[in-house]
């Protein structure tokens, strides 16, 4: 049996989904498209029932790919559970009436019932049932209320025969329903409502955003470092070290297999960070060095997503995003990219035009380092002090902005305007946050481990076969002159295509100076996305656009890497460096624009 959860975005569908389903939850792509939906199972009266969380949609007249999928899925369902936000009954009923016209059983769930009561909204459920002709259930999913009532109706199979006519007639009918079923008492503004407004007004919202982002950053570092120092490293030292040491002795230090599995012994013992064997560094980096930060990041991201803060951030950065040819919503793929560039490249498809997709993907791939890489940057540069870390992010932000400005100027076409619902602040459901965190950790491990082990294997083979030596002597002089990096770094750049965190790990034994680490970290971020991201980008943008994007990446790498090597001295940019940066930004203003202006953008 297939149960479809359908409704507008932001109605708490996902919370209901996570309460309805067990731990066996999978996110999959809808066949033929790149739209993701989640599916889970529930045991219901001795039968396994599939519950599908359909992408949120406002209408069955699809306006984008995600909505097309939502409509398409109707054919697969035995029952539609239409989830509505009780505090926004009128707008939500538009989808409900469209669903009722279809040839499929529907039950209606008024979620956020507690919030509606709190806001002084009274809805006459019996009358609403009469109007719609289907069962209406009230829930407060976050508080676990009413979830059971939904399951009681899983075998509901009556199809109502309704036709509400044209769009205008449908809205008129909705007006009549609202008139006769809903009564609103005016309540005083609460502090929370005041705060909700304050977070979108620029004068108060921007300082609040800076505080939130700073706090998130600190919390991520605190959790990440804490887990490494107190959990993962001790676990590796106590339980894993004896195992691999034993194996190392059995294999014998100079054998081929030892080289591959254990790697080099550093002053007679295994160094998890530097030995570089499949079973040492290949296991240590993903599980001990990176996973803690992945957990920390996705936990914070889940909280930000489920409180409803991200749309607010999107409105605050809207005007900055317009400068680079995007609108505020594009901040979402950028933030996702800080976790992993792959889901970010997938999120770009929610943008409207080809031009925006190209700009957003390129900017994301060029200047947003993933958490796996950031974790390794923290590990390598952390000991040298905060200003080096700060400069890496400062450089990447400047790269993002400059490349974005240039693309907006030089690319013909238009970009669209922001239109976004700002949901109220909500207390996140811990079940949902943790379930989402779990799914993201699993998908990180599935993605990272194979590439990681393969990367270590390839690196060792290339090293043993002498390919690396050849590359190092061929490209070494170039690396040295432009970036000021030793020739061995070429191996990291090569392996970085497989995994950026592994590439960062390969820098560890090279004894680079702090400045060289800054250059290498920025170059490793900018030069190319990892292969997983690369494949997604080719699928999303097409091979031709991706080649253009890759060209921009290489050009940016040479310019930025060379510039940082030239202008970054003793932990900060030289005065001349700053003069060049400011001069460049001013010069860009005077480049004639090939993109359309604001008014024309809107017409399309």
């Amino acid at each position: 049996m297939n149960i479809l959860l359908m409704g507008n975005p932001n109605v708490g569908k996902s919370v209901i989904f996570s309460k309805l389903t067990g731990t066996n939850v999978t996110a999959s792509n809808y066949s033929g498209t790149t739209v993701e939906y989640t599916e889970g199972q529930r045991n219901w009266r001795g039968e396994m029932v599939d519950v599908i969380d359909v992408p949120g949609t406002y209408t069955l007249d699809p306006t984008n790919e995600a909505e097309e999928v939502a409509v398409d899925m109707l054919d697969k369902g035995d029952l539609v559970v239409n989830v509505l936000d009780a505090t926004n009954l009128e707008r939500n009923l538009n989808l409900t009436l469209q669903l009722l016209e279809r040839d499929i059983p529907v039950i209606v769930v008024l979620n956020m019932w507690d919030e509606a009561e709190h806001k002084g909204i009274e809805i006459d459920i019996e009358k609403l049932e009469e109007y719609l002709g289907v069962p209406v259930i009230t829930t407060a999913a976050v508080k676990n209320r009413g979830i059971k009532d939904i399951t009681y109706h899983f075998d509901y199979r009556e199809v109502v025969d309704s036709d509400y006519g044209s769009t205008e007639e449908r809205w008129a009918h909705i007006g009549e329903i609202i008139e006769n079923t809903q009564h609103i008492q005016d309540r005083k503004h609460t502090f929370l409502e005041w705060f909700e407004d304050a977070t979108v007004k620029p004068l108060t919202g921007i300082p609040i955003a800076i505080i939130f982002m700073y706090l998130s950053f600190m919390i991520i570092r605190f959790i990440g470092e804490g887990l490494i120092a107190n959990v993962t490293e001790p676990l590796f030292e106590i339980f894993y070290r004896p195992v691999v040491t034993q194996l190392s002795q059995i294999l014998g230090a100079e054998t081929f297999l030892h080289k591959l599995l254990i790697g080099n012994l550093i002053s007679g013992t295994i160094d998890f960070g530097q030995s570089f064997g499949i079973l040492t560094t290949g296991i240590f980096i993903p599980f001990a060095a990176v996973l803690p930060y992945i957990i920390a990041f996705y936990f914070m991201l889940g909280l930000l997503e489920d409180t409803g803060y991200l749309p607010r951030l999107a409105t605050l950065v809207d005007n900055i995003m317009h400068r680079v040819g995007l609108h505020g919503f594009s901040i979402i793929p950028m933030i996702l990219g800080l976790g992993c560039n792959v889901p970010a490249a997938l999120a770009v498809r929610n943008l409207d035009s080809k031009r925006e997709k190209f700009i957003a993907s390129t900017l994301m791939a060029i200047s947003v380092p993933c958490m796996a890489q950031i974790a390794m940057i923290f590990g390598l540069l952390g000991p040298y002090g905060g200003q080096y870390l700060l400069h890496i992010f400062l450089i990447l932000i400047m790269v993002w902005f400059t490349v974005g400005l240039l693309m907006d100027k030089l690319m013909p076409g238009f970009s669209s305007d922001l239109l976004l619902e700002i949901p109220p602040f909500r207390i996140p459901s811990m079940t949902t946050v943790l379930k989402k965190l779990w799914m993201r950790i699993i998908s990180f491990l599935e993605e990272a481990i194979p590439y990681m082990l393969f990367g270590v294997l390839i690196a060792n083979l290339l090293y043993i076969l002498g390919v690396f030596d050849f590359l190092a002597t061929t490209f070494g002089p170039f690396l040295n002159q432009v970036f000021g990096l030793p020739q061995e770094v070429i191996t990291a750049l090569l392996i970085g295509f497989l995994r950026k965190d592994l590439a960062m790990g390969m820098l560890a034994p090279l004894n680079l100076t702090a400045k060289q680490l800054v250059v290498a970290s920025t170059v490793l971020t900018i030069y190319f996305p990892c292969v997983a991201t690369f494949v997604v980008l080719i699928k999303e943008l097409g091979i031709f656009a991706m080649m253009k994007s890759a060209g921009i990446m290489l050009l940016t790498t040479l310019t930025v890497g060379g510039f940082v090597n030239f202008a970054f001295q003793g932990g900060s940019f030289s005065l001349l460096g700053w003069i060049i940066i400011v001069g460049l930004l001013i010069a860009i203003r005077y480049i004639p624009s090939f993109g359309s202006d604001f008014e024309e953008r809107l017409e399309a």
């Binding site: 406002y58 209408t59 007249d61 306006t63 505090t87 926004n88 009128e90 707008r91 538009n94 806001k119 909204i121 769009t167 809205w171 909700e196 407004d197 979108v200 007004k201 620029p202 004068l203 749309p311 999107a314 409105t315 605050l316 809207d318 005007n319 317009h322 609108h327 505020g328 669209s416 305007d417 922001l418 239109l419 976004l420 619902e421 700002i422 949901p423 109220p424 604001f598 008014e599 953008r601 809107l602 017409e603």
Partner: protein, 77 residues
């Protein structure tokens, strides 16, 4: 009664949506978010250096891009 664009409306001022001066696509998009003729709308904040206008409609807040806000005609009592 005064007619003006949503963009011209002052912050914290209320108005009634009169018409949407855009193509079918824009009208549909706005309708789906509850912005349609006859609805009362309160502007929460002005566009700040080209940023979006945020409005309250029933119990929803919607951020409307600066350009779109100029296409929405409201009537103020």
């Amino acid at each position: 009664m005064k007619k003006m664009t949503l963009h011209q409306l002052n912050a914290d001022q209320a108005g009634t949506v009169l018409e949407i001066n855009g193509g079918c696509g824009l009208e549909e998009k706005l309708n789906n978010l509850g912005i349609r003729p006859g609805k009362e709308i309160v502007k929460i904040n002005e566009s700040f250096i080209g940023g979006p206008v945020t409005v309250q409609i029933d119990h929803t807040k919607v951020a409307v891009g600066h350009g779109m806000a100029e296409k929405i005609i409201v009537e103020v009592a």
